[in-house]
Symmetry: C2
Amino acid sequence: MSTNQIPYKIYLEESEMPRAWYNVRADMTNKPAPLLNPQTLKPVTEEALSHIFCRELARQELNDSDPYIPIPQPVWDFYRMYRPSPLVRAYCLEDRLGTPAHIYYKFEGNNTSGSHKLNSAIAQAYYAKEQGLRGVTTETGAGQWGTALSMACAYLELDCQVYMVKVSYEQKPFRREVMRTYGAKVTPSPSDTTQVGREILARFPGTGGSLGCAISEAVEAAGRQEGYRYVLGSVLNQVLLHQSVIGLETKAALDKYNITPDIIIGCAGGGSNLGGLISPFIGQKLRGELDCQIIAVEPASCPSLTRGSYVYDYCDTGRVCPLMKMYTLGSGFIPSANHAGGLRYHGMSSVVSQLYHDGLLEARSVEQTAVFQAATEFARVEGILPAPESSHAIRVAIDEALRCKETGQEKTIVFGLTGTGYFDMYAYQRFNDGHMTDAIPTDAEIAASLAQTPRVPE
Amino acid sequence: MSTNQIPYKIYLEESEMPRAWYNVRADMTNKPAPLLNPQTLKPVTEEALSHIFCRELARQELNDSDPYIPIPQPVWDFYRMYRPSPLVRAYCLEDRLGTPAHIYYKFEGNNTSGSHKLNSAIAQAYYAKEQGLRGVTTETGAGQWGTALSMACAYLELDCQVYMVKVSYEQKPFRREVMRTYGAKVTPSPSDTTQVGREILARFPGTGGSLGCAISEAVEAAGRQEGYRYVLGSVLNQVLLHQSVIGLETKAALDKYNITPDIIIGCAGGGSNLGGLISPFIGQKLRGELDCQIIAVEPASCPSLTRGSYVYDYCDTGRVCPLMKMYTLGSGFIPSANHAGGLRYHGMSSVVSQLYHDGLLEARSVEQTAVFQAATEFARVEGILPAPESSHAIRVAIDEALRCKETGQEKTIVFGLTGTGYFDMYAYQRFNDGHMTDAIPTDAEIAASLAQTPRVPE
């Protein structure tokens, strides 16, 4: 393999890094449905959104016409500290599988946040700082987003308040400690620091919390404090926009070596990494320039694309956020307690939802024991210990590579390796000890949860 | 800063990666003193060493004449998975400090082992595999070395048995779990699986163990099993040889931009990272081609260079290994219980010791609260959460940069950022909570420990 012309890691030069984010919505034939005010059921205005998000982010959230948004110089400078991320040729994995497929992965884990989340965290923190705000509030589940935001805020000297899903706060004390090291204030959610938190605690004493609940608390906390806004690490259009840097770099690296992908694979929770990775390729597909299979991989325990409904739903448990049309399992849906890692949000980015609805990508759900098998196999030959979330994409990449072995097809498979699993060793331990199980919700459970979605006339 | 010609990260091309390790001993005027057989006090032979290490490594250990040893192709291929590592210009740290100094760091933490240890682990595992061995045994303290060796062995499908210092085994369950994920068998040391372990347990029931004790157990375990050899992650000449890849890449990156270092700084425990980083520059100094200050930084709680003696000493508690002439605190020395992180070995690489003795480098000891202050400051502006060990080098780099601020000198400072602190959050937590203290051994404690060194006629 040492004589192959394509290096193990394709690094762009600093000068080749994207100078603008790509806004795939501008090129979509069917735009994502607008956010609705939950009271009036009318589309929310930029003015209304500006009370939740900072002004520029509210603008980006609603902008479905400009295909490119320049990356501000200070954000680009921060990107230079950990980007460009490598596009890695998985030579060793190919050898081990004995597949004729060529496998590449875009590795976003080589930064302290351990994931791609930093790409949007620095952008959101920057716009908050630029608007003269004092700080931001957010929620975090598995902890990657909270860590990323803490890092961005430390860099810009902005206050950072994180509501961390309680079960995660307790199981991952070291994630919490990383955030504290970056100066963030971390509160287990639900907490008694907000009205919505107190109500949930009263109704469900002893609850371990959920992302939807932590979102409600963070939004309330931002609204209550002068000079604060709420920020969110996934799902939103603005987040997919910032994450397009993943896809743009991936495409630039492939183009440099004249490689055309046959299959692009990404894990999907809220959809930000997937949306970011695929957006330039979706743009090509929409323009008829590329014929390529795109696969969103989700956990069988939280299967919003493969088993949810495409309807308007609440984004949070407290129902304080705008309504979003998306593939959803219902805002009350909580994955089984044995589900490890992230990808546990009940809904899906409205961009990804619309693209899926229009047949521009397909979706597949995988069970977590199979995911951890793939993670371990990958770690042992490629060196990197992957995050459980990323390992969903690895699972399907390996499955597709093995299919190529059967058919003899020399397909080019590209997948997103969104992060590392260094703070997920509790889950790995369960797997290593043989204690990990799968948990798939019943149709009745999903139907009951979906029955709680709001009624919005078409 | 965005217009500066030197990028944030200098990456070599794959084709620019070193093809041979540099053996600084070949160029040293005063060679390191030979290893001695503890019974006969005669220099150990390659034959005798081959019962402990695999043959090629025994050869490398004693080779002080060949300046370059080719890197075997399979090792080089493995290096390609995570190397070259970036030489980073610390623009943000410079800005924050307001220093005219130019600060660079060679970052070795972008791999799952989280440190430079992988550079030697893959080499040692490769030679074991090539010799047809079944497996290797080793010790690990903070856990980086054990993790690195586990990764290398998983890649080469070699059995890996790790004796982990018990206090670390208990405080760092997740480090242990990473090793298990890579298929290693991890045993807390002292254990009842070895004679030496049983003796130590009998004498000191409830002991948390030490590196010296874990080394003895690993050596015994290797000797007892057919097809096994012992491997060590620091101190030895062979390890410094493999780690020269750090210095060679650093020099190549600096040369690429015509940068001449004024100060090179590395943390020093057993001396492998420091020795590897500085060796090509020491070579230049020895040839009169470079006038540059080189600083070894050690913890004030384990100050082998600054307060130890340059004598022959035991390398391990069980006294089963050859004697080594080195700066040592005595093989019974154990840092105070409140000492965080690695850099807790009682002695120092004989190469580094001889270079220090000959005035080719200087040494400085720093206290751990000051180290964690530097670590936190660095993390917040440069993004990367550093390992406690690496942060010793950061402390002195910042001190020197601040001195430049006073004097107005535009010095070029290069330091080794050996790894990340993701598995050291327990120590960060103590610091964040204000519970971290310094602990400096008294002269009497060091003298008592040094009184136990063996008597070797000059």
